[in-house]
């Protein structure tokens, strides 16, 4: 299971992306991350909720309580317009970073 510092630096973007697609709740997000990466990356729940807290503080996401399931109300997260702008900026930054790093990581046997 990969859990590198490089990924850790992009957790905000990963989670914003998943919430961007549709409103989701905590466990759904951690499941989705494992599923999409074929279990190569699993997020620790502790990390996940710390990120939620941080993103909410920065007003990039907001939360609301959904319908009752499993005996309690699920807490869903929704992206704000600020969050969308931030995510797009992050995508742009990543594209440029990738190009730069590739210059030094590719092509040498």
């Amino acid at each position: 299971m990969l859990n590198s510092d490089i990924i850790r630096g992009h957790l905000d973007s990963i989670i914003l992306r998943l919430i961007f697609e549709k409103d989701r709740y905590g466990y759904e997000i951690s499941k989705e991350i494992s599923l999409r990466t074929n279990d190569q990356f699993q997020i620790k729940e502790a990390t996940l909720y710390a990120v939620f807290q941080r993103l909410e503080k920065k007003e990039l996401i907001e939360s609301y309580f959904g319908d009752i399931t499993h005996g309690a109300k699920r807490r869903y997260y929704r992206i704000t317009s600020l969050g969308k702008a931030y995510y797009r900026q992050q995508v742009e930054d990543w594209r440029m970073t990738k190009e730069i790093i590739d210059v030094f990581m590719e092509g040498l046997e």
């Binding site: 905590g26 729940e45 502790a46 909720y49 710390a50 309690a72």
Partner: protein, 132 residues
């Protein structure tokens, strides 16, 4: 599924109480219980499922940092302390000047307490500079 609840409660013990904490605790308990249900559906025994959920949870440190950073009380009061020290020392100095010239106009002694009192705003000033 008492054990998940116990585990989460125990973990959050060291974090100071707040509304945020309670909401997050409920959220985590609920999500972990759902995970345990999923794991059991995949054929794990309840105990194994609970153990796996707890191990996967990771360390509480990250959450602690986010939650505690939000607490009020760590806010910067240095400016207030500086203002208080300036006003306080000005009043004390004014009093000694008054006493000096009213009771002993021939001996100028108010300079000594003035220098002593000035340490107070001076130290507060540097504290304020540091925290600014």
């Amino acid at each position: 599924m008492k054990s998940i609840r116990d585990y989460v409660n125990e973990m959050f013990n060291e974090i100071p109480d707040s509304e945020q904490k309670d909401i997050m605790k409920q959220e985590i308990i609920q999500n972990l219980e759902e995970k345990v249900c999923d794991l059991m559906e995949q054929g794990k025994a309840e105990e194994d499922a609970i153990n796996k959920a707890i191990i996967d949870f990771g360390s509480i440190e990250d959450i602690k940092k986010e939650l505690i950073g939000k607490q009020p009380g760590v806010k910067n009061n240095a400016g207030l302390h500086l203002g208080y020290s300036i006003w306080g020392s000005a009043l004390i100095i004014a009093l000694s000047v008054f006493m000096n010239f009213y009771y002993t106009p021939r001996v100028i002694w108010f300079v000594y307490p003035t220098f002593a009192v000035l340490w107070w705003p001076l130290s507060m000033y540097f504290r304020w500079l540091k925290l600014k």
